[in-house]
Amino acid sequence: MDLLPKRDLRHPLLRIEHLSKSFGAHEVLRDIDFTVYRGDVISVIGSSGSGKSTLLRCVNLLETPSSGEIRFHSSNILSPGINVPGYRAKVGMVFQSFNLFDNMSVLKNCEIGQRKVLSRGAEEAREKAMHYLRKVGMAPYVNALPRQLSGGQKQRVAIARALAMEPEVLLFDEPTSALDPEMVGEVLEVMRNLVREGMTMIVVTHEMAFARDVSNHVVFMADGVICEESDPIRLFSAPKNKRTQEFLSRFLQQ
């Protein structure tokens, strides 16, 4: 609990306003509003199919929202003429299925974005890649190919790859859901360290302990809407919304 940084409301980084997303007639997200301040660690929880992953994918435009606004600093990134790749370079993403580049070594995975997107020199890219690989404990594996690594190792490399771009906010899409139980810990540990260093993060997760102990703000979603959001202590100990209560009681029974 000592991790809990207080929410600092002075510097809004991302402001999501009236965001909706439909796949055909099926409305997955309905009128979503929420704000991410610098230094925030926001956990998004809710049952499967509640739209939390879609929300995260909308934030870095892997899905195109049907309507609404996403303000990064103060510019609306959904307005035409916005440099989408440039925006994505500042918003890192860690996927449930890792999505490491299968044709590249661990080191190359962490260098390629820096070289091609940020146009960093070979030397600098290598140093940064090594710096972040060391941070996630994967520096000895620089020569390995993704298929030669365990799930937990892959995910730590994926985190290093995202960090090497030095993004302003990092999105985690169920980063431990595809892992064997014994590997969940190593990835959560890396994430905890990032929190300590003040990284701004949005984490879609089923790890309730992580949401409760590490984040400074929790968002509960159901059926494509945000039912309740507050600091973790209040949300976990005294949920107001009936659906939150149901969801949490099911989790606590486990």
Binding site: P80, S105, V142, A144
Partner: protein, 263 residues
């Protein structure tokens, strides 16, 4: 027994008179197959790349229009060259260019051109399938770190497609070794052309055909072997070596030297 001896002596006759011509023809066949498979791959990947560019609602209408036009042209290209016989394509292009445009091509460059675009049409379809076979997560991973579509294709998707397509490329190569024989209709002097000339001149069709087939078979079998080796080398090392942290090692190594320098 006599007939076997007769056959061998006939083979000897063909070889002594046309052996060199056969070997030259075989050489040209290999050159055609290598060049046309390589150029065909480049065409196939180019077509596949253009066809992979997504049309989005936000795009400027001009860009969208151009893209759709390019796709339509490429679709016609692929369907035309897959849907007509190579032998006719050769005549159509070789004689057609002279007939319609007064463009008189030399037979060898014409042969390269025709077999390459024919291979390109087939490769384009293989590449399209190969791109689709790459896990969509790879493209998402690339986009998530800010790569453009083209960057993602060049650095992430196409290298993986190429690796998956090596068996297909080998297949095309072996087909080209044999199908280049159809270029004999425009007098490209490859192996089949050599065979035809030789057989007609000495009137020994069976021994000449036997020898030509033997040469084709040797070429395809050797190629199949070499392709296997290439395939294996592309799949990369089985193992990796753990490294000590190279940067901390550097730092450790530099320490004593620094001291020496200052002393």
């Amino acid at each position: 027994m006599d007939s076997i001896l007769q056959f061998l002596s006939d083979c000897g006759t063909v070889l002594s008179r046309y052996g060199i011509s056969f070997l030259r023809g075989a050489g040209l066949t290999v050159v055609l197959a290598v060049a046309c498979t390589a150029i065909g791959c480049v065409i196939g990947f180019g077509v596949g790349l253009i066809r992979s560019i997504p049309t989005q609602p936000g795009q400027p209408p001009l860009q969208r229009g151009l893209l759709q036009m390019a796709r339509a042209v490429l679709a016609v290209y692929v369907e035309f060259f897959r849907g007509t016989p190579l032998m006719l394509q050769a005549m159509f292009i070789f004689y057609g260019s002279a007939y319609a445009f007064h463009l008189h091509m030399d037979t060898f460059p014409a042969g390269i051109f025709i077999l390459s675009i024919n291979t390109g049409a087939y490769m384009a379809e293989s590449v399209r399938g190969g791109i689709q076979a790459v896990d969509p997560g790879q493209m998402e991973g690339a986009k998530a770190i800010g790569m453009t579509h083209m960057q993602a294709m060049f650095h992430v998707i196409l290298p993986q497609t190429l690796r998956n397509l090596v068996p297909q490329i080998g297949n095309h190569f072996i087909i080209n070794l044999k199908d280049s024989s159809m270029l004999s209709v425009i007098s490209v002097t490859e192996l089949f052309f050599s065979f035809k000339s030789a057989a007609a001149a000495v009137y020994l069709y069976f021994p000449a055909a036997f020898l030509a087939m033997l040469l084709y078979l040797i070429m395809t079998l050797v190629s199949a072997r070499l392709l296997r080796v290439w395939e294996r080398s592309l799949s990369g090392a089985e193992n990796y070596e753990l490294t000590g942290d190279p940067f901390s090692l550097d730092a450790g190594g530099a320490g004593p030297n620094d001291k020496e320098a200052t002393v």
